[in-house]
Amino acid sequence: MNPLEWAGARPGPAFAVTFDGREIEALPGQTVAAALWAAGVRSWRTTRGEGRPRGVLCGIGVCFDCLVTVNDRPNQRACLVPLRPGDAIRTQEGTGHHD
């Protein structure tokens, strides 16, 4: 069953954002992590040391495992940042900063 039904939630109309250039759907108030999960994406960052895949761990903003680049700004916590129409989410490699 869809979790929206469990919660009796009636969000406003969906809008489009992109993940690595591919269009995915998001709902008003949804976080980056939630939208990515709904689109079947579980990892969106690779670790700085060994390039291992990372996604949500704690889901509540504590662990910083879910870091992601949104609108060119790296190191944002996917589990906290709410999406707005047109946001561009990108897989983050390493620190997300290029030198």
Partner: protein, 381 residues
């Protein structure tokens, strides 16, 4: 766990771990007790700079130089495990008067065996490409280094082979009819030993009180601001000249002076505030703001960098800013190794070695008189 040993060390922070390592190496059977986990005190709530640069000539500097040498020895085998980096320190001055003060400090330090190289204003950015323009100059201290304190405490304890009893609170110090220390009472039974080392950090005064002696250790709060992980942009430990004055200051009021360092994991750590507000753990936005402002003055690129969190810790300080190291004549068998204020990571190795020497009846490498735990008894309580 056998309940007797040669020495009980109270506190599994950096200092307790170093005491355990050197005491075990001296052939002693050691039990380390901590009411929490390893590095759950100030060791897990500070930074890991091993500095000679910020110390005025005197007993603390001598201890820092001894400690720096011992850290290098340990790093040969273990350095990678606790992120030891012999990165060197850079102290910068914004104006000519500050630079002159640094110059005088460096002169005195050199006489004590510190290496300090003057760096002209136009060469500063060869050392640190992202430093703000327009600084008056600075000094480079190649002996300054860095570790990750929690890892260092854990690995020193591990290689020491000492028995560790975590989650066990010391509630009393056992003393015989002759007054000599016989071990400790804990919430999980007694531990018997002819020697007890007080490595309880900021709580060292309470531990001393359990043995019936006074040691006025008090907390000096410090915040650290942590940035998002970055590529290596800050190469050395970098701080501003006013930091040295703040460290030595007696003021209870808030002091902040920028101290910036990169870490092996990527985040940049920004310190350092000093306040005497007891054990108040509440978040203080004005303090953290001042830290951020100071750091961006040194490294303008930081203004576009995200701070992801802040944490705080309580430095254990004694009124004359020197630690208490050595036997307590008021309670035979009790030794103190606490009160290292903002330098307990750096000074841990030397402290551990001095304590081990005393425990095994050898002459310590430094004169312990300036660190004598009884030195405060004359004062009003």
């Amino acid at each position: 766990m056998r309940l007797t040993c040669d020495v009980v060390i109270v506190g599994a922070g950096m200092v307790g771990a170093a005491c355990a390592l050197y005491a075990s190496r001296a052939g002693l059977d050691v039990i380390v007790v901590d009411r929490g986990p390893v590095a759950g005190g100030t060791t897990g709530a500070g930074e890991g700079n091993l500095l000679v640069s910020d110390k005025e000539p005197g007993p603390e500097l001598e201890l820092a130089l001894l400690s720096a040498r011992l850290w290098t020895e340990l790093a040969d085998d273990l350095g990678d495990l606790f992120e030891y980096e012999a990165k060197g320190g850079v102290v910068v001055a914004a104006a000519a008067a500050e630079l002159a003060a640094l110059d005088r400090l460096a002169d005195g330090q050199r006489a004590a065996g510190v290496r300090a190289e003057a760096v002209d204003a136009d060469r500063l950015r060869d050392l640190e490409p992202y430093l703000a323009p327009g600084l008056a100059g600075g000094f480079f201290y190649p002996q300054d280094a860095q570790v990750m304190p929690t890892l260092a405490a854990a690995h020193l304890l591990r290689v020491s082979g000492a028995r560790l009893s975590a989650g066990r609170t010391v509630t009393g110090v056992l003393r015989g009819a002759d007054g000599a220390v016989r071990g400790v009472r804990t919430d999980r039974g007694d531990l018997h030993a002819p020697a007890v080392v007080n490595a309880a950090g900021t709580w060292g005064g309470e531990l001393a009180a359990l043995a019936g002696v006074r040691l006025p250790v008090l907390p000096r709060r410090g915040f650290v601001l942590v940035t998002e992980p970055l590529p290596r942009r800050v190469r050395h430990k970098v701080y501003a000249a006013d930091y040295v004055a703040d460290v030595a200051s007696d003021s209870a009021a808030l002091q902040t002076s920028p101290v910036v360092e990169g870490t092996a994991a990527g985040p940049v750590l920004i310190g350092a505030s000093r306040e005497r507000v007891g054990f108040d753990r509440s978040f203080a936005l004005p303090v953290v703001r001042a830290l951020a402002a100071g750091a961006t003055r040194l490294f303008p690129f930081l203004s576009d960098v995200r701070a992801v969190r802040a944490y705080l810790g309580f430095r254990p300080y004694l009124p004359d800013h020197l630690p208490a190291i050595g036997p307590d004549l008021r309670a035979p068998g009790l030794l103190h190794a606490c009160g290292h204020e903002g330098a307990g990571i750096g000074l841990a190795t030397g402290t551990g070695q001095l304590i081990a020497r005393v425990l095994s009846g050898q002459a310590p490498e430094l004169d312990l008189t300036p660190f004598a735990p009884e030195r405060f008894t004359e004062e009003a309580v």
